[in-house]
Symmetry: C2
Subunit: 147 residues, 2 copies
């Protein structure tokens, strides 16, 4: 019931880019260095974010990453789901066929409520807000693992 490392990295990456001048191209190396993300791993993550229409990747010399949209139109939910897939709390929500009586199962409705609440909260957080509050260099996102 928790974020993967990859999703955390994705959030850090978009957060870093949100703080740069709009439409600027930022090299993967710069991001990975500043946000403590393994460079090659960030490459894979960036591809997923690109496929989700969040950023674009420019190849070749002077290439790098560029946000595809303004930070205020990007939210936490879509960044996370771009990397982890759609958030769901249990199997039966995801594949109703495997649940024999979802329409009348009380547990089912709780899952659904919990899931939609969670997605709502994450969907309401856009990166303009996030980047404005988190201003200082490296420490703009939580950096786990030192513990």
């Amino acid at each position: 019931m928790r974020l993967t490392r990859a999703a955390e990295y994705a959030v850090r990456c978009v957060l870093y880019m949100s703080r740069q001048p709009e439409k600027s191209v930022i090299s993967r190396k710069e991001i990975s260095r500043n946000m403590e993300i393994p460079d090659q791993f960030l490459g894979k993550i960036a591809q997923q974010l690109a496929r989700a229409g969040i950023m674009e990747i420019l190849q070749g010399a002077r290439g790098g990453l560029r946000l595809f949209r303004a930070p205020e139109s990007i939210n936490l939910l879509e960044v996370i789901e771009a990397v982890m897939g759609e958030i769901f709390l249990n199997d039966c929500i995801m594949s109703p066929r495997s649940c024999r009586r979802s329409p009348t199962c009380a547990v089912h409705s709780v899952w659904e409520k919990a899931r939609s609440g969670l997605r709502q909260t994450l969907g309401d957080a856009d990166f303009r807000q996030l980047s404005m509050t988190a201003l200082e260099g490296l420490e703009s996102a939580c950096i786990p693992g030192d513990d």
Copy 2:
């Protein structure tokens, strides 16, 4: 970002027990058979639920499981957390030491909101309600994996 199988089994187990006459002792085998839970695995799960004060385990012949409290005083959240540990969405919520500036990090506050909302929803669902809506034999809880 999803329930483990063990947590799903725990929910099914408590749900089954909530439907039986209060304070009755139910053998593990009966529960595992009726709710499609591997018997030995249920043994482990029952121990966790017992440690959490949700049920008690009676050893020996005619032994089995018995709810320690009335179904209305048991909620989804505690059953899940008994098995999975406390729900948290990312590392930095769990171990604030590893997060260098949690008080001022905007992302941090979103995690906290999402987490508390999720726990609230699950905490509001008690097993009296759940067992009343889910009445029919086997199919009282979602049974994944057939898909």
